[in-house]
């Protein structure tokens, strides 16, 4: 029944509501073996509820969940062949690390020898051998995180579920553990569904990202694709840090050229958009939002082929981080952010020649926010 072509996880028409509130609406999702799917979105978008439904900790209001080709919609969490790592680690406080890791095996009736073997293997993989006799309270945050992962690994499940596992760690440790999770994924070829609100984490870990907004999956795809071709202004604004610049404009299609007219201080500028692959063609007069990532807003010395526009913009704020300068520039009534070379001399209030590279721009419908 469970052929190799079956997706490890398949969700069809999943909905969940609490009383009158729809938390998840008609979610469809399928992932293959070895995938690292990151569910990312702002708090309250339903990503954790979706994960809990997959785990069987919440009962969906409608829809079906298959794991490893078997319908698991009504199956208890313990029989779903999953393991889960929680944000608070959820280590059993009165058990030693070893007991924490083998608790599941013990409940399922594995022999002592089996437990011992699995424990040793996982402990050496995660380098927690020396901690096995300690209690969770005696461990640091990073160590607890490892133990929580050990508890999941020892199960050898079809599907790993991670619920914001790094959110309680400090910034440095978070980056370390992130790399470790990624390495673990590569080594074990495990299938993982990972929930986070941190888009950086999503981008760096995922083989596939699903951006969630208000109970639906707004966009799903490889991280680079989601980054380069966001389907709407929500995804565009959520993915990427610093955030994408949004500039309001109007499409002009005179003389066979396609341009987007934007308002400057008392004047207008035209952004060439001939190259942009409008999904439904360009309509003259259509009100749009142009999305340009800060890394495409740079000093005029940086040149490349392709469509671009050079404007004189007034800097209002400069933040330096060593490898570049992040500059806010006044544009029309708003501001845009750009990334300039650290060698460039920038003075607040003095107009700066700014080159805006349009080769990777996105154009959205102003009313619906959808990509054109």
């Amino acid at each position: 029944m469970a052929g190799t072509k079956d997706p490890v996880l398949k969700i069809e028409g999943l909905s969940k509501s609490f009383q009158d509130v729809d938390v998840l609406m008609d979610i469809d999702l399928a992932i293959d073996e070895g995938a690292f799917l990151v569910l990312v979105g702002p708090s309250g978008c339903g990503k954790s509820t979706l994960l809990n439904c997959i785990a069987g900790l919440e009962e969906p209001s409608a829809g079906r969940i298959q794991i490893g080709g078997r319908d698991m919609t009504a199956v208890a969490p313990k029989d779903r062949d999953i393991a889960m790592v929680f944000q608070s680690y959820a280590l059993y406080p009165r058990m030693t690390v070893a007991k924490n890791i083998t608790f599941g095996m013990q409940v399922r009736g594995a022999s002592r020898a089996e437990q011992r073997e699995a424990l040793d293997q996982v402990a050496s993989m995660l380098q927690i051998d020396h901690l096995l006799d300690r209690r969770p309270a005696q461990l640091s945050g990073g160590q607890r995180q490892r133990v929580a992962m050990g508890r999941a690994l020892v199960r050898e499940p079809k599907l790993f579920l991670f619920d914001e596992p790094l959110s309680n760690l400090d910034a440095k440790l978070r980056v370390e553990m992130r790399a470790e999770i990624k390495r673990l994924h590569q080594r074990l070829d495990a299938t993982i569904v990972y929930v986070t609100h941190d888009q950086t984490e999503a981008m760096s870990l995922a083989t596939e990202v699903a951006v969630m907004e208000a109970g639906v999956i707004a966009q799903r795809g490889p991280p680079q694709e989601v980054y380069d071709y966001p389907v709407n202004t929500f995804v565009a604004g959520f993915i990427g840090s610093p955030a994408m610049n949004f500039i309001e404009g109007c499409i002009r299609t005179g003389d066979g050229a396609v341009e987007i007219e934007i308002a400057l201080d008392g004047a207008t500028a035209a952004l060439p958009a001939q190259h942009y692959p409008f999904a439904g063609g360009a309509t003259d007069g259509a009100e749009v939002i142009v999305g340009i990532r800060p890394e495409y807003v740079a000093g005029s010395d940086r040149s490349s082929d392709g469509p671009a526009v050079v404007l004189e913009l007034v800097p209002t704020l400069v933040e330096t981080n060593g490898f570049d300068q992040h500059v806010n520039l006044a544009l029309g009534r708003g501001e845009i952010g750009g990334r300039f070379s650290p060698r460039e001399r920038i003075t607040i209030g003095t107009p700066l020649r700014t080159r805006i590279d349009l080769s990777q721009m996105s154009v959205f419908d102003r009313e619906s926010g959808r990509r054109l």
Partner: protein, 280 residues
């Protein structure tokens, strides 16, 4: 410095105020009857005599039975121990279910249990008597145990529920995924966390049940009366000379177990609290 001195003075006054009755009881119990009649209330006994204690324990007359407090003391023990254990255990299970296995109507049930805490003893006397009669437990120690368990459930459930709501939900989720069921999670994960609240509950229940007089006098009969009822019968005996020294000794004996529980378990109580305060 003056303030500190004043503070200590005030404390000493309060200590004296609270300890004086116990002091008077203790010295009176050690005096002979002649001494009591002759001396003042506060005078120390000339020679401490324990005869009134042995009388109170072994031969004072409670009603028609002149065997002292001893048989009634054991009645109380036989009533208190199972009642405390049962009500504490059931309260723990209730509190665990109400805090981590939210079911439809859980809040209503909890509210009703809380309400049960505020029903005065007197109100339930008659219905309880009927119930015990129908169950065939009227006048028996098991009947008294049942009454105290039922009456204590509201409190014990409240204690445990409020303790368990501080346990992260994710702990239960993790255990469910690990394959543990309702009772496995309770016994393996929640009970090991519970010593501090168990001690609190046991102290509370032991004191309540040991000191109870109304249920004891209402639902017992000759042979099953708890110590509080016997104490009353000894002290309120209307025949013969009033033996104040025996009365005082009997009262101290009747109150001693709760004191001992406080002294012993209070230490573990503090210890449990500090052990639980370590994060993790």
């Amino acid at each position: 410095m003056a303030l500190r001195g004043l503070l200590y003075l005030l404390l000493v006054v309060f200590v004296a105020y609270y300890m004086l009755p116990l002091f008077v009881m203790a010295i009176t119990s050690l005096k002979t009857l002649d001494e009591i009649r002759a001396g003042s209330l506060m005078s120390l006994p000339e020679s401490a005599s324990l005869t009134s204690w042995s009388t109170a324990w072994g031969s004072a007359c409670a009603g028609i039975l002149c065997e002292g407090l001893q048989p009634f003391f054991w009645n109380s023990v036989k009533m208190v121990v199972p009642a405390v254990l049962l009500s504490t255990f059931l309260g723990a299970v209730n509190g665990y279910a109400l805090s981590h296995w939210r079911f439809r109507g859980a809040n209503l049930i909890f509210a009703l249990m809380l309400f049960g805490c505020f029903i005065p003893f007197q109100v339930v006397l008659l219905p309880m008597a009927r119930t015990l009669g129908m169950l065939g437990l009227a006048g028996s120690l098991s009947g008294l145990v049942l009454v105290h368990v039922v009456y204590g459930l509201g409190f014990t459930t409240l204690f445990f529920r409020n303790f368990y709501v501080t346990v992260p939900v994710e702990l239960v989720k993790a255990a469910k995924i690990d394959g543990a069921g309702f009772f496995t999670i309770f016994f393996r994960i929640f009970l090991p966390l519970s010593p501090p609240i168990i001690v609190v509950t046991v102290i509370w229940q032991f004191t309540q049940i040991w000191n109870d007089f109304l249920f004891g006098v209402s639902f017992s009969q000759a042979g099953t009366q708890p110590i509080t009822v016997a104490l009353n019968n000894i002290v309120n005996a209307t025949t013969g000379v009033k033996e104040y020294n025996v009365d005082m000794a009997a009262a101290i004996i009747a109150g001693l177990p709760t004191l001992i529980v406080y002294v012993l378990a209070g230490k573990y109580f503090i210890r449990g609290l500090t052990a639980g305060s370590v994060k993790g």
